[in-house]
Symmetry: C2
Subunit: 235 residues, 2 copies
Amino acid sequence: MTSARSRKSGRARDERPERGIPEATVARLPVYLRALTTLSDSDVATASSEDLATAAGVNSAKLRKDLSYLGTYGTRGVGYDVNYLRYQIAREIGLTQDWSVVIVGIGNLGHALANYSGFASRGFQVAALFDVDPERVGEVVGDLKISALADLEVIVRESAVAIGVIATPAGAAQGVCDQLVEAGVSSILNFAPAVLTVPGHVDVRKVDLSIELQILAYHEQRKAHGFGALEAGAL
Amino acid sequence: MTSARSRKSGRARDERPERGIPEATVARLPVYLRALTTLSDSDVATASSEDLATAAGVNSAKLRKDLSYLGTYGTRGVGYDVNYLRYQIAREIGLTQDWSVVIVGIGNLGHALANYSGFASRGFQVAALFDVDPERVGEVVGDLKISALADLEVIVRESAVAIGVIATPAGAAQGVCDQLVEAGVSSILNFAPAVLTVPGHVDVRKVDLSIELQILAYHEQRKAHGFGALEAGAL
DNA sequence: ACGATTTTGTTCTCGCGTTCACAAACTTCT
DNA sequence: AGAAGTTTGTGAACGCGAGAACAAAATCGT
Ligand SMILES: NC(=O)c1ccc[n+]([C@@H]2O[C@H](COP(=O)([O-])OP(=O)(O)OC[C@H]3O[C@@H](n4cnc5c(N)ncnc54)[C@H](O)[C@@H]3O)[C@@H](O)[C@H]2O)c1
Ligand SMILES: NC(=O)c1ccc[n+]([C@@H]2O[C@H](COP(=O)([O-])OP(=O)(O)OC[C@H]3O[C@@H](n4cnc5c(N)ncnc54)[C@H](O)[C@@H]3O)[C@@H](O)[C@H]2O)c1
């Protein structure tokens, strides 16, 4: 109802481009970015939507529609310039700037995350590591020293950290979350199996391994049950 | 090509009743299960949809609709019996049986996963660990010894492993995936940033940390722009 | 120059998922 | 027992996303 720019006549009045990209599309852009990077590394200069879609594991119509939300970056009859499109997606996602990240809870998982090189290569700088355990504070992981929780607020503010990663036990997650938010963090990635409550301006995403396994188990169970007995009976 | 090729394959009138639960619901059931477990541990006997929804971080109407796909397990005017509902959900997901899991690629992340106790407590038994690196084979992690990739097929078949976890570098993921599928694994959880191609009967779920961070970055960038262009001066 | 060919950008339709709203079903109070 | 109060289960409305299909725009061959 409100989108009054379906026609392509150049009405560039006060009509803002309205930067809203559908969530489902936002979630796929990083996948396209990865595919483009791979192609670029193989010295592929241009790629069709079909090529890209295959590399990204999606339908080509979906890919084209996704890209159309960003702008008109392709050339009909030719395809997309790999490096140009790569830049445009990166810009859209916000990867032309670096982001500072802190990780809280440096146990099994926290160590793995802190040692992961895939962060920096995508523009995410791990600015600090925190743990509540006095035994752990001071330990060096990667090229960082684990800091005490008490220093969280100062460090977060000084490094302009926008993203916090929670890798503590579930019971501590809400408390840590509150501290991060208090310190000014407005995006949180939560690995703890706990529901976090945050103010409206804060984004939370969760990664829950157990849930993933349970979803797989559900389908696995159905495969086992379904195709055994009641395959013959339709109706 | 041809113009009149629109074969509208009219779906047959049979349509089996198909005990299918919507995917979105399946993904939330584990969350409800967790909330119920927490309530049960607090000796709460019954809970209303409102209580449960709050604990699970969802809308109560959504929760009720989700549960209605499983059956009629609530009592109007009262709510749900916590332990009864917990059992019903567990049964539906397939958690009344144990599942064997193997992890391939015991590096930073693989170690964390192998040491994670949250698996066993939810009915997922880690049956074996694999790595291609001869230096790593034989190393003990948790209470398991890392096996050689060559033994994958035999071990998977002997332990009736249905679920495989891939924690190798991206370049090795497809190869490992093929080996797992070849050995009979039909559900895969992939941590490597790579698109996996599998036969139709195999389920793949991916966990991609970088994508999560990029999605957060996108929203973070939008928040910043919305309030007008502030200078980039941090510190 | 121009038609054949390729491939994008977009429209249209359909199905899924979310949410509202309310009758039905159960409990409690009088 | 009957009225009042609770809470479930679900029908219906609605919005979003997926995919098919196609017109528009670009290149290529002659
Ligand atoms: N390890 C895995 O593979 C894995 C997989 C899925 C989910 N998880 C989840 O990730 C989280 C971390 O798992 P883990 O295996 O690393 O656990 P862990 O016990 O090894 O590490 C937790 C760390 O958090 C620290 N901590 C506790 N309370 C804290 C607080 N208030 N502030 C700061 N630090 C605090 C502890 O000192 C410890 O170092 C858990 O919630 C777990 O359920 C882990
Ligand atoms: N560490 C993290 O926090 C993190 C976060 C997100 C994603 N990932 C992804 O998870 C994967 C593993 O990360 P990591 O940090 O543990 O890497 P890593 O290099 O520490 O470990 C990879 C392991 O896989 C083994 N391996 C390599 N090829 C193999 C093969 N063909 N078969 C079996 N094993 C093989 C290696 O020997 C090594 O032990 C990577 O794809 C990474 O991008 C890791």
